[in-house]
Amino acid sequence: MIGMRAPAFAAVLLLAGACTTTPPEPIADLKPGERPALGTDEAGLWMQMDAVEESLSTSGRIVTDPALNAYVRTVTCRLSAEYCKDMRLYIVQTPHFNASMAPNGTMQVWTGTLLRVQNEAQLAYVLGHEMGHYIRRHSVQRWRSIRNKTDSMAFFTVTTRMAGLGFMGDLADMAAMASVMAFSRDHERESDDIGFDLMVQAGYAAGEAPKIWVALEEERKAAGAENPSLFLSSHPPTEERLATLQARASAHTGKGKFGNKSFVTAVRRYRTDWLRDEVRKRDFEGTKVLLANLQKAGYPAGEIHFFEGELYRLRGDDGDIKLAISAYRKALGSKGAPAETHRALGVMYWKSDQPKQARKSFRAYLAAAPKAEDRAMIKSYIQQLK
């Protein structure tokens, strides 16, 4: 029967053009406060993006928390006080890394991004990079170049809320398309430069810029071909780009700030939720790499080990129960393990024929989370285990 799946926000990603073989026409920078005149193709693009933005703004996936939005906005405005007035920020809840700016000033930051950047400086670089695409009007250039090609795929369908293959399927399709329609190397170089300049001018530590690319690539290699990264497909990283960025970073003599404290304060409440979304991707190897990176960056060990346990529990291969138990126990021995660790441990103990331990864990869960929505069920587990 009808499969009517497609997450709406996926649509906005399809702002793309084919890999251009013709050099981009020279195009002036967008000026702050500028809106294209009606009748231009750029205006049409904006209108389409305005419509998408309107549906984006009331979509179920937008994170509306004022504090988090204010924080990301602050970083954006620190990068460019002039342009930040024109931008409207939408934080989209999805575990994939992505940030984008549409030509009309809609900025999207996916929670998978906020999960992966390790501090404010790295966030600033990613935002600055996207602002580069916006200021330099790269999307308009791509639209213009694709428009004249008679054999180009229809790309401007904001309507991906259509028959699709389900979220996972869509992502793979989109990644495939995104790689066909990637930003050109020139555009990417430009944005790297602009992002770097904005970041450094705003006082951030230059050395942080290349780190996020390195981390993403590492994750991608571990994740393998079945888990394409949307962002990397449309922003193809190359050795050359990384080398350039690293060279610029080393050449930069100022110190610059990392912004660890402000960053952690802003995202701390959400990290458990975002990691839960991440684990649901069932990208065992990729998530493992991410967890390792987060631990290095100073995430609470309790949380890291809990989610390691979750990876094993959800995979459920032979021997995984044991590995899960070991990870959960490690979590409880460290700081920051969420209350669910006890519940998960209880389930694993029960399944490995350790009823006494299971009961103990379930009781600990109820003590740690007396208002848990599933407390009636957990109480019945304890009864059953007597």
Partner: protein, 256 residues
């Protein structure tokens, strides 16, 4: 039906290719394959409703309209100026045509307060879903729901009353339209007939087309009391006169 998938309840401000396909497919329900003339998809009516032009207060909800250009390659290029022109023409035509029947439409005003804005937003989204449901289950004979017994019996529920109170209206008129026009390159491509046969062949072959619906909701109880579907491939609503004709078609049978 696939489990665990949200309905394609596109909020009426979003693009509606899906609905376009739906409507085109419905027009094909009965398993014929071509549509060449302009026609309205028929009117579903609750017989008893009839508006009193002098006294009925009807609020016109913000119309959901988009006009695109169909290029040779089959790209739908959004056109901001065409859409503005069409929006203005259609809104003006609605107001004028209704006025000729003695009815002055009230224009929707965004309410004060986040709660109310959210409520209206949920009502508009619900209406989109109800509209799509009416198309699938009422207009398509094959998909009729027996419990409805042939009646167009759908509602937005009692929360609609709050919208009515805020807008000071007993009825709300919703209009939705998606419109596209072909470039000359496109027309040439059609003549060359290079399109590989597919279900969409009949649709893609068009020089341009329009899909729309209008619905009247009784805000006192939320009931959809009148609904009309329009599918056509002639007329240019970027121009004032043709827009009036299209609106005439769209609201033919309006209970006044």
């Amino acid at each position: 039906m696939s489990i665990g998938t949200p309905p394609r309840a596109s909020r009426h401000r979003s693009s509606f290719h899906g609905l376009a396909i739906l409507i085109a497919a419905l027009a094909l329900a009965g398993c014929t394959t071509t549509l060449t003339e302009s026609h309205t998809g028929g009117t579903g009516t609750n017989e008893s409703i009839k508006l009193d032009a002098a006294n009925s207060r009807v609020v016109l909800m913000p119309i959901d309209i988009r006009v695109t250009e169909l290029t040779a390659a089959g790209l739908e290029e959004p056109k901001a100026d065409w859409t503005e022109a069409a929006r203005n023409n259609v809104t003006a035509a609605l107001n004028t045509t209704m006025a000729e029947h003695g009815l002055t439409l009230r224009q929707y005003k965004k309410p004060k307060g986040a709660k109310r804005v959210r409520r209206d937003d949920q009502l508009e989204k619900l209406h989109s879903t109800v509209g799509g449901t009416i198309l699938v289950h009422h207009y398509s004979q094959m998909n009729r729901l027996p419990t409805k017994q042939g009646q167009m019996d759908w509602t937005l529920g009692r929360t609609a009353r709050q919208l009515g109170n805020d807008q000071n209206a007993e009825f709300a008129l919703f209009v939705f339209m998606r419109d596209s026009y072909a470039t000359s390159g496109r027309k040439a491509a059609m003549v060359a007939s290079t399109i590989v046969g597919s279900i969409l062949g009949t649709r893609v072959a068009k020089a341009g087309e329009r899909i729309g619906f209008a619905s009247l909701v009784d805000l006192r109880n939320g009931n959809v009391v009148w609904f009309n579907v329009l599918y056509s491939d002639t007329g240019d609503i970027r121009q004032t006169e043709p827009a009036r004709e299209v609106v005439d078609d769209l609201i033919s049978g309006f209970p006044i």
